[in-house]
Each structure stands twice: as structure tokens, then as C-alpha cells.
């Protein structure tokens, strides 16, 4: 009894230490920057701010996240709201890692230690970055996605009644984040098809039939709620609808989906059976093959699709290929071996459908960039298997020396996962969520200049959102908040799209940043569906050398230009000394 109490205490300490790691890692950016890391300024300015002013806006991710922010904004002052976003939100979102931990606790296989799952959830770079680290709807969507998985597992292993909370959390997923809803639809569809095949072939019980009916209802509910969210989204704003349109436009893909649906359950059931019976999957073989495949495939695909993204891919992929993937595969194999086919289908079916989804996404032309959103969902689902794999690995060590050596190596793998959570600027291809102080300064000063000169401001969507944020939507920005999908007719946008310069308007401040320039792989209009381009050398040359265009400010990362601003001021004011810009 005493030793049991001691063990219980040890487990508690492990849990406390792991959760401390999770909180510490998620608090690094707020403490270091003092700004909400990865805060989607664009989303906030274009949705929550508008709702706060009583306007109506499209809500492409689903309305829940925006309304939660709105409630906080209405409850506290604006400054307090920013502090909550910066310091409280990462702490709250850190708890969103718990659903897979509880899934892990459901695994009844021998030797399972769920605390390893929590360790992975606490440190894995993609989770730290996207679940808790950044202020985006995805975090909320992933929470409900995880809860739906947890409840459906309980429904399959305990009682069908657990499908009711699973349905509720599925609905909340659809209301929170469209890609989470899409992923969850795939999850439930894979389970439905596989367990239907299992029901027809092996176990014709009433309870399983009832469960299948409820699962089908959940899929219908998810699709209906997603369709409702689509109706809230503006034209071309919903990625899910874009993908669906693209699939419908290609009859070949539709045929492929039909064939896949037919063959899928057979493949999953056979795979689970094959893994169970095949004796030769040792950890060393798994580790070596995963290392080879986990490194080679991402590198080859990146070199083929986006060679310039290679440093980012390596930054995230190497630690995952070393520390996460081998243990997930090992856990999957061991779980299939040690549990019944009914239980192992719960992991086999979704994992196979996620792999098919990834392959299909890669074949979708311009939309293949969406592939970078999928790993987080897959890994969130597979985290209990990684934890189980590590548990199995630890129990296979037969001496203290081996345990020590392996323990040190795993600790360094864990460290490599943690230390790559927030990529350094040189590794941030397409990951520019963090707000830089110089850009904030540029936006603030552009707003001050525009008030002084009574002028409009031309800048890209990213800085434009920042500008609207610092001016609380009062700035006269020539861009528009839907310019992700509908580029505005401004000088910067036109020049970046066409590559041709033309005279700038006289009452416009032009704000440029290094992030827009070709030399920095920049984009002025960062679109998937519309032509886009960086600000080329000719445009910068034009701004620097056209007579009359003053360079009013330089903050190293960007600059502000305007045509004859002081002449304009003197003409309107007969002297300017009383209206100097405040430092």
C-alpha cells in the first residue's frame, strides 16, 4: 500500500514536471517579446474588431473563436485584452494538449505509460507552435477535434452513450476551425467504413450497429455544420470549399474517391491483421526505416515543390523523424500486436485515411501547399501511439546501463523537438506569425504621418492589418481587408503583380517592408488563388530615385515614402513648424 502511494506520488511528479515543461515552452515568446506571438492580426482586425463595432463579417474558420475573443474584448478594456492575449491565452491553450493524454489512458495494453504521451504533447515543435503557442482558431479546433476522438474511443470501448458528447464536440469543431472539421470528417468516415466492414464480416452485434448509426449521424452533423459555416464565409474564403470545388472539377478524382471508399475498409482490416501476425517488426528496424523514409520523402518532396522551404522543412522534420515518428510506428505495431482487431482498427483506419488525404492533397496543383497543415492533425491523433511506443521501448531495455544510455538519448530527442518550436528567422519560410517591433513602429509612424499629411496609406496585407490594428481601424489604408482574395488597386499591389512601375499618387504614403522584397522571398499579395509577386528591385529603385519622392523613415526592416509631403503641408498650412510630427 505504501509503495503504491509512493508510485502514485512519482507519477504525479512526472505529470507536474511535464506540464511545467508545456507551460514554460508556450510562455517563451510572450515573456521574450511582450507581444502576442503569432497573433493573427489580420483575423482580429477584419473580424473581431468589425463585430465589436456592430458590423457583419464573414467568419471562414467558424464563428466560435471570433465570438470568444469578442466576449473577452467586451468584458475588459482593450489594453487588458491585449495582455490576456499575450500572457493568459498561451497558458489556457496549453491545456488543449490533454485529450490525447486521456486517449492514452484508455489504452489497456500492458506496460502503457500515458505520461510519455503527455511529454510528447508538451514538447513536440508543431504542437508547441500551433496548440498554445500562437493565437489562432486552429488551437480551439484542435481541442474539439481531440475531444471528439477521445469520446468516440470511449464509445467504441465502453458505451455507445459516449457518442453523444462526441457529436457535441464535433459540432463545436465545425464551429471553431474548418480544417479541423474536415480532418474530423475524415476520421469518422474512416471509422464508419472500417467498423461497418468489421460488422458485416465478423461481429454482427446490436451495440456495434447502434454505434455505426450514431457515427453516421455524426458525419452528417459535421457536414451540415460545415455547410452552415460555409454560408458565413465570403466567396473563396473557405479552403474546405475550395478543395471540394477542385475535386468536383476533376472527374478522375471523384472516381478515385469512390474506389477508395470501396477498398478502404478492406485495406484497413487487412493491414491491422497483417501487422498483428507479422513477427519481424523490431524497434531497430522500425527506427532505421522511419529515419530513412521520414527524412528522404519530406526532403525529396520539398526539393520538388518548394526548394526554398528546405531549411524550414529540415528544422521541423529532423527532430520529428528522430524523436517522434519511430516511436509512433513502434507503438502502432505493438498496439496492433497486443490488442484485438476491433481495438486496433481505431488507430489503423484514421492513419490510413490521413495518408491517402496527404497524397491526394499533393496532387491538387496549387492547393498542395495545404499539406503543411496536415501533420499537426495526424500527430495530435497519433501522440498516444508515440507514448505507447516509448513505453514499450523502455520495457525492452534489460539493464540499468542501457536504460541510462537510452534515457539520455531520448532526453536529447525530446530537447531537439522542444528547441525547434519557434523557428529562427532564417528558417521561417511562410511562418511569419510573430510581430516584429520594427514593423509595429513602422505602422504606428505611418499612421502618424497620414494624420499629419492627411494622406492615405498604401502597404501590403500583412502590414496593412498591423496598421489597422495600431490605429484601431481608423487609418485610411488603400488596401482592403479581403485583399488576400481580392487584391486592391493600389500602387504596391499593381507593381508587385505586374512588375511595371508607374507614377505614385501624390496623397499616398507608401510603406514597404523587407518581407515584401524579392531578395527576402517576399510577397506583397500572399495568395493561393490569385497572381502574386514580390516587390522587385525596379520598384525600390523607383521609390529611391524618382524626383519628389521623399523617404520619410527607415526602421531597417522597412521604410516610408511619400511624394513631396512637406510642400503639401506648407501649401495647406502656410508653415509647418507648429505641426511637426511628434517624435
Amino acid at each position: 500500500m505504501g509503495s503504491n502511494l509512493d508510485r502514485l506520488k512519482h507519477q504525479d511528479w512526472y505529470l507536474i514536471s511535464v506540464f511545467s515543461i508545456a507551460l514554460l515552452l508556450r510562455m517563451i515568446p510572450p515573456l521574450k517579446y511582450g507581444l502576442p506571438y503569432g497573433f493573427d492580426v489580420y483575423e482580429f482586425v477584419s473580424r473581431v474588431f468589425v463585430l465589436n463595432e456592430g458590423g457583419s463579417v464573414s467568419m471562414p474558420h467558424g464563428p466560435l473563436f471570433y465570438y470568444l475573443q469578442l466576449v473577452v474584448l467586451k468584458t475588459v478594456s482593450y489594453d487588458m485584452f491585449m495582455k490576456i492575449l499575450t500572457f493568459v491565452e498561451p497558458l489556457v491553450f496549453a491545456f488543449f494538449i490533454l485529450p490525447p493524454y486521456f486517449v492514452s489512458k484508455q489504452l489497456k495494453t500492458e506496460g502503457n505509460k500515458p505520461v510519455y504521451t503527455l511529454l510528447y504533447l508538451a514538447v513536440t515543435n508543431l504542437f508547441v507552435h500551433q496548440v498554445g503557442g500562437v493565437v489562432i482558431p486552429e488551437g480551439l479546433g484542435i481541442l474539439f477535434y481531440g475531444l471528439s476522438i477521445l469520446f468516440s474511443m470511449r464509445a467504441l470501448t465502453r458505451s455507445w452513450r459516449w457518442m453523444l458528447p462526441a457529436m457535441l464536440s464535433s459540432f463545436l469543431t465545425a464551429m471553431s476551425h474548418h480544417l479541423s472539421a474536415f480532418q474530423l470528417t475524415l476520421f469518422f468516415s474512416s471509422l464508419f467504413l472500417s467498423y461497418l466492414y468489421y460488422y458485416l464480416k465478423q461481429e454482427k452485434t446490436d451495440s456495434l450497429l447502434r454505434l455505426l448509426l450514431l457515427m453516421f449521424s455524426t458525419i452528417v452533423l459535421l457536414l451540415a455544420s460545415s455547410a452552415y459555416v460555409w454560408s458565413l464565409a465570403g466567396e473563396e474564403e473557405n479552403m474546405l470549399r475550395l478543395i471540394l470545388n477542385m475535386v468536383l472539377e476533376k472527374p478522375f478524382l471523384l472516381l478515385l474517391i469512390m474506389v477508395t471508399m470501396f477498398l478502404f475498409p478492406i485495406v484497413t482490416v487487412k493491414t491491422a491483421g497483417f501487422v498483428k501476425k507479422h513477427p519481424k517488426f523490431t524497434f531497430i528496424k522500425t527506427f532505421m526505416s522511419v529515419l530513412l523514409v521520414g527524412m528522404l520523402i519530406p526532403v525529396a518532396l520539398t526539393l520538388m515543390l518548394h526548394p526554398d522551404a528546405l531549411p524550414t522543412i529540415l528544422w521541423f522534420t529532423v527532430p520529428i523523424s528522430l524523436g517522434f515518428l519511430p516511436f509512433t510506428i513502434h507503438g502502432f505495431i505493438q498496439y496492433c500486436k497486443k490488442s484485438s482487431q476491433y481495438d486496433s482498427l481505431f488507430f489503423t483506419a484514421p492513419l490510413i485515411v490521413f495518408m491517402i488525404e496527404a497524397s491526394a492533397l499533393l496532387s491538387l496543383g496549387d492547393y498542395c501547399v495545404l499539406i503543411h497543415r496536415i501533420p499537426t492533425f495526424i500527430m495530435f491523433f497519433a501522440a498516444p501511439l508515440a507514448g505507447y511506443g516509448l513505453s514499450c521501448f523502455s520495457s525492452e531495455l534489460r539493464s540499468m546501463e542501457k536504460e541510462y544510455l537510452a534515457g539520455m538519448m531520448i532526453a536529447y530527442f525530446i530537447f531537439s523537438l522542444a528547441s525547434t518550436s519557434y523557428p529562427k528567422p532564417e528558417f521561417t519560410y511562410g511562418i511569419k506569425e510573430s510581430i516584429s517591433y520594427s514593423e509595429l513602429k513602422l505602422a504606428e509612424d505611418a499612421y502618424s504621418y497620414s494624420l499629419l499629411f492627411n494622406s492615405k496609406i498604401d502597404t501590403d496585407t500583412r502590414l496593412g492589418a498591423l496598421l489597422m490594428f495600431v490605429s484601431r481601424r481608423n487609418a485610411f489604408w488603400t488596401g482592403n481587408l479581403t485583399s488576400w482574395f481580392l487584391p486592391s488597386n493600389s500602387w504596391l499591389v499593381n507593381v508587385s503583380v505586374s512588375g511595371e512601375t508607374y507614377p505614385v499618387e501624390k496623397d499616398v504614403l507608401i510603406v514597404i517592408s523587407n518581407a515584401m522584397m524579392e531578395a527576402y522571398s517576399g510577397r506583397v499579395v500572399n495568395l493561393i488563388t490569385k497572381p502574386s509577386g514580390p516587390l522587385r528591385e525596379e520598384a525600390i529603385d523607383y521609390l529611391n530615385n524618382s524626383p519628389g519622392i521623399d523617404r520619410l523613415e527607415d526602421v531597417q526592416n522597412g521604410a516610408i515614402y511619400m511624394f513631396s509631403p512637406w510642400k503639401r503641408l506648407n501649401q495647406s498650412d502656410n508653415g509647418f513648424s507648429s505641426r511637426w510630427l511628434k517624435p
Binding site: Y14, V18, S20, I21, L24, L25, I28, L31, K32, Y33, G111, K113, L119, V123, S391, S394, S395, L397, R398, S399, M400, K402, E403, Y404, G407, M408, I410, A411, Y412, I414, F415, A418, S419, Y437, S438, K441, D445, A519, D541, N544, N545, P547, G548, D550, R551, L552, E553, D554, V555, Q556, N557, I560, S564, W566, G575, F576, W580, L581, K582, P583
Partner: protein, 163 residues
């Protein structure tokens, strides 16, 4: 006997993993928090401009938004017809400019200074460039006419057209 205590059930492994992971993450967190915050940037802006009878009066604001002290040169360049500014990843190049003068400005961390600059009238001048460069090796001489090359990472500059 004691050597094998805990072996086989993974307890020692578990302790090693958790203690070492916690230690490494704590080290990493400390390093990240102690590392210079990525606030580092110098900003220069024109806050006022006036054409007087015999000179141009320019009000500048220079701010050090970094945690390090910066000692640099404020360089005044007058551009004539055909003057040209070009830039690449590494340098700014000012061609056909005359260096009117320079002065040393030291900025402590977080310090901002307001500078009132008076530059004499030059009927042939087309534009004025004021650059702040904090690389000591970039010092230039007054009256210098050849292209002025300033390292991009160590320079901020503003310009106004007077022609």
C-alpha cells in the same frame, strides 16, 4: 545486485528521461529569455522640414530601439543631377552625391534624440540624404564625391527632394 536495481521495468529510464528533459528545457528556456530580445533596430525619421532664406532646416528623430549602445556617424549627402541610390542585400550605394559633413552621434539603449540640422542652400542640389551609419569603418570625408558605399545592416537613411 544493486547495479541491476530498476532494470527491466523502465523506472530508471523514465527518471532519466524526465529529469534530463526538464533540465534541458529549463536550460533552453533560460537561454531564450536571457538572449537579447529581438527588438534590435535603429530608426530614423524626418519630423519636420523648412526651406529658409539661406538654408534648409530639417528636424530628425533618431532612436536606438536595441539593448546595445550605438556610436555612429550622421552623414549628410547632397545629391546633384544624375544622383542615384541603389541597394542590394548587403549595401546601399549613393552615386553622384557630395558629402556635406558628418558628425558622431552616440545612442544609448532605448535613447531617442531629436536633431535640428541646417544645411546651406545649393542652387544645383536636387536632394538631401541623411544617413546614420554605426560601422566605424564606414567613416567618410567631407567633400567626398565618389560613390559612398554603406553596409545595409549598419545603416538607416532618409531623404528629401529640394530641387
Amino acid at each position: 545486485m544493486s547495479r541491476n536495481r530498476g532494470s527491466g521495468n523502465g523506472v530508471f529510464f523514465q527518471r532519466t528521461v524526465f529529469l534530463m528533459s526538464l533540465f534541458l528545457v529549463l536550460l533552453f528556456t533560460s537561454y531564450e529569455l536571457l538572449e537579447t530580445p529581438p527588438k534590435d533596430f535603429i530608426a530614423v525619421k524626418i519630423i519636420g522640414f523648412k526651406r529658409e532664406d539661406d538654408c534648409f532646416s530639417i528636424a530628425l528623430f533618431l532612436k536606438n530601439n536595441s539593448s546595445g549602445k550605438h556610436e555612429g556617424h550622421l552623414i549628410f549627402l547632397i545629391g546633384y543631377e544624375g544622383s542615384r541610390v541603389s541597394e542590394d542585400n548587403a549595401f546601399y550605394c549613393f552615386t553622384n552625391f557630395r558629402t556635406l559633413g558628418f558628425r558622431t552621434v552616440t545612442l544609448n539603449p532605448g535613447e531617442g534624440v531629436k536633431l535640428n540640422v541646417k544645411l546651406p542652400m545649393d542652387p544645383e542640389a536636387e536632394r538631401i540624404i541623411i544617413a546614420y551609419c554605426w560601422d566605424a569603418s564606414e567613416a567618410v570625408q567631407t567633400g567626398y564625391y565618389s560613390p559612398v558605399l554603406l553596409r545595409r545592416d549598419d545603416t538607416v537613411w532618409v531623404q528629401t527632394w529640394i530641387g
